[in-house]
Symmetry: D2
């Protein structure tokens, strides 16, 4: 019943604070025999690494992952392979500049967990937000890279998970321009090249003004076979909702048509079915690939909204830990759209949920 674990059969536990010596994740339940090298994980980590463009935090962290357990290699294994025992991954924190934390130590930053952590625990590790820092998502991305390997191993290699930012502030992409080939070409992982251009301009301005924007990220898993998931509290969509909502700053999660489903009629919403080449073919995907909590074989489509960065350069009204009214404003590092770094995190969570359900399905249904 851990607070810091996720998953049932493919279960991972993350640990670590923003400014502690390291952070990491322990994965339990991974099938044995899967080739797993540090570079498999490093490639994924590099995508969410701070400091890759002017739009993300300038904290300099190499985010180098170490595999501390759970893989074994000798002259007969053809590469390092998972052994079926816990995989412990660690990333050392290297950019912990000694700085003055007295401001965030003594004041509650609006939109941050400062106030609620104090209310719950009586005190907090205020350096960089401690456990509430988005640095924890590095552990998710590392675990997600392992999950992707598990999916390929269990489901036969066909699953393809991609994510795109589809809205920044009020500005949404044009679906007509959607092209997955674009996501690696702009700093927003955006599938609409034109939107990415607009956003670059707007975000640059926001950055200079010390303001910030929210974002919506869409994650799509293709190639997931029908049958993953379960009624009633083990629904695939319920697990995705929990997974996405657990990401820092997320305030909404949608599957398929999402909140817009409310505005549809039954005729518009039901995805009709035909046969094509001897297989069922849905004529639309309002369901986002999940019916009754179980995958239908269509693309799994999830979206989540990331609120605008709370750390902004404009002074905001707040109180001190002693209950005195004051103002607070961020100095130094400033991440004008945390949603950007949410893109690889969302993809990782999709992989983690699917890997879990792939194993669960194998357990129950063979």
């Amino acid at each position: 019943m851990s607070f810091n674990s996720f998953g049932r059969m493919f279960r991972f536990t993350t640990w670590g604070e923003s400014h502690g010596p390291a952070l990491g994740v322990v994965i339990d339940g991974c099938p044995p025999g899967i080739v797993l090298r540090p570079e498999d994980i490093q490639t994924a980590l590099d995508k969410r690494k701070p400091g890759t463009s002017k739009f993300v935090t300038q904290r300099k962290e190499p985010d180098e992952v170490k595999i501390l357990s759970g893989v074994f290699e000798d002259e007969r294994t053809d590469g390092p392979r998972t052994t079926g025992t816990p995989i412990s991954l660690m990333i050392e924190n290297t950019d912990q500049r000694s700085k003055d934390y007295s401001d965030i130590r003594d004041k509650y930053r609006p939109g941050h967990a400062d106030f609620t952590y104090d209310a719950k625990y009586g005190f907090r590790d205020y350096r960089g937000g401690g456990r509430s820092s988005a640095r924890e998502t590095a552990a998710r991305v590392a675990a997600g890279a392992v999950a992707e390997k598990v999916l390929a191993h269990v489901l036969g290699g066909a699953v393809w998970i991609r994510a795109s930012m589809v809205q920044m502030g009020p500005d949404k992409i044009d679906r007509a321009n959607f092209d997955w080939m674009e996501i690696e070409k702009n700093p927003f992982w955006c599938a609409d090249a034109k939107a990415a251009e607009r956003w670059a301009e707007k975000l640059d301005e926001a950055r200079k003004n010390g303001s910030s924007y929210g974002a919506v990220i869409e994650v799509v898993a293709s190639g997931v076979p029908a049958g993953l998931g379960a009624p009633v509290y083990g629904k695939l969509d319920a697990d995705l909702a929990s997974a996405m909502m657990s990401i820092n700053a997320v305030k909404g999660v949608e599957i398929g048509a999402g909140m817009e489903a409310a505005a549809l009629t039954g005729e518009e919403n039901a995805d009709e079915i035909r046969m094509k080449d001897g297989a069922p073919q849905f004529l639309s995907n309002k369901a986002g690939g999940i019916l009754g909590g179980v995958s239908s074989g269509q693309d799994i489509v999830a979206r989540f909204a990331v609120k605008p960065t709370s750390s902004i350069l404009t002074p905001r009204k707040t109180i001190t830990t002693k209950g005195e009214e004051t103002t607070v404003q961020t100095k130094g590092r400033h991440d004008p759209c945390v949603g950007i770094r949410g893109v690889p995190v969302g993809a990782a969570m999709m992989a983690l949920v699917l890997a879990d359900h792939a194993l669960l399905h194998r357990a129950q249904c063979g």
Copy 2:
């Protein structure tokens, strides 16, 4: 790791199919000494009971709950009280008219779990949707009534959970009209009396046309103290997301500003804090009462979108279980807006998540 259980310390497991002899729920971890009478649960159940207006399914079920274990009364206990052992609640299914199920047995209804259950399990109990039926939510509502008692017991009686339908189809309520006193006065549990009037007219038409509408439900918990919840996967909002998304037909979940948070700037989104009467007071509630996964003492605000009923009287394209193209349409019972019955269910899920976190908080933080 159950598929059909929810919660950590206050944990419940539901069972039962639409057309089996009964359905029920077993609650584990309930504190001892709480007065619990069948009528405490029955009152809640009666709110979601079928057949209460022309807008909900005409299935006639008394939905009478029996408490089979976990409470004890003698001349010294001042009423039946929970003993700390599992509370088993059962509701017998009485309206199982023998009818012809061959149509839904042999065809996959679009928008239903028929296709995915067959894909997962190889066959299915097709009578009324079996386990995927919304009848399962009766068990949630029953458990939710117990959860409300637990909240009062553990937190001192101050928590108040209310829910309102805030959108039907594309038609949203006017927030200026919002009045909690209205929700018991119209068949939509709608806090905007004028919206309820419009909806009645529209839904009557949809019902006659054999069509259906989606809905958005908002659930608000007032009086929750700061400090409930936890980082990182035990976040209060992550658990609410999972809870709400697990309700039948839900496609989106929002906390506070929800998906709209993406469109805000950091200045607009951060809830500033002042002191009032010696206590912290937030000047807005974009966060929906949760920061860093932990309650802030503000109202907890969650919303979820329910898709339009998939069972409509218009023929839809589909295939048979043997892969032949055909059409299917619903006959008989027809529920033009399943969102209506989602209102008490959403409130129940809020109570269940909060009761769980109230106990978890007590465990960790005393």
Copy 3:
């Protein structure tokens, strides 16, 4: 994290008190497609049923099981089959004679949970011991019958679970007489016919004297393939230890050589291996079929000690709930060796643990 649940993938939750209206169990995670009829379960239940000989409690309970959910039958399923959804089993309590409970209400019976339940919960359902009654084991036996079917389904039918009482009071069986064919022929489920004869005489005397005896039960599972179990806290033997120790009145659990292993040397204890007919063959089974928490393919051998019935007709010193010194003695029903009814319960727990691990193994290792 339920208190009243057991298992990970094949997970069951029991509920019910000795003198409530009913008791039952909900099984989650059962594979679909397994033929399951009430009589499959009833046969197992009848073995532990009270009143079958003069050596077990004379409470008259038909212990008739009802399957309330999770199976479905139509003209195409060739019998009622599990659907993959929760299986709810219920047994109504029928022999709740109204009697005078004031004695056990006001006094703590030595060896019973009366004192500790009051200490924990503040009060207790004292009728027949409430939740601490051995009646709860009827739910285990019912679940165990389903587990046996799961084992046959998943592992191919080869697993055979048998149990024998191997000691009553200080009197142990003679291993030279061990014959599984005997267990159905005497009221002790004892594989040594001569021991059974001696025990009958001794126990008859104890019954008349109002005394009681403890017992040791041995459970053996044959045909379990190598590979079930897991390091480190998911060890097959750790789960068996928990399962057996959770049975009422059990004070010790052994695997293979058990406590006697301490007295052996390394040479004596290590089970040597040879090849036979192309397969590994162990030359002894000190390990009880489990090495490193994982099954070896040998017989799984577990034993547990059941303390003598605490309810005896001799007065024992105790205190009242108000802290006054007094004595207490049992009147009426008296079960001189509760270990007898522990035999089918032990077999059920073995089946339940193995079914769980069979599914877990399939999840992780395919």
Copy 4:
């Protein structure tokens, strides 16, 4: 549902292999505000450290623990304190001499997990036994040190956990000599000084002969209040049984009278109760401090049997991984009685189970 986690509210997950770069443990659910310094843990670890006498493995490991997360200190916290977030502890493996593993790579050592790991996972990290190595218990001892602090914090400092070896090979201690003051004075942690002398002589001989002895360890927790534990599968004794049986080489677990309870009559076994100084006093402790799965306020008494070390210098019959008959014998490091190092491990497991139940009790019963 992790394989490598234990506990419900105070939950820990261990990771690491004998010859990997490090091993560790992540603790989740720890209350905040507890002073925790590395030396608090180091002191416990030093007790089980290899190489402390000629009777334990001569592997040289400093076993230096690092706290990587979950504690925070500034000028106001009066020492490093737990924050309520996951506590990650790591111990680096330093004595990984490069040696020839081909023998244990290609042969199955009797009594070891070699054969079963291969059967389960298809291959194994054979260096030092990989995950099945007793080195994993260092992580338990580290976690146990934190658990002891939690017990003091939650229960008020009164709990005292001690452990003694009470049998080596067939040679048991004399209870008349039992003196807790002795356990720190001999290499066996034995409370009977005379037995320790005899054992030293015998074990020296066994060591020289390349043989080994089993052992029984008794763990006693004093000062545990009545009320910890729960029916039915969350019983304190069931959790202790699982905890103790999960320790390497353990084959039996007893509570109170243990297996001997079977030989007693009801009159002998029931612990009678009197009043003393206004409080209930039990006149004996056959129950080992647990009734109905719940602590009674008496000493909690658990025992477990450790089989003799399987790695002995005498050749034993076995097979190769290819199924050829051969013999195997241990070379080099040899631990003639692994039970010795089991003493601090058993004490740690007792602390871990009690800490978990202390938090669980607080959750349910306030």
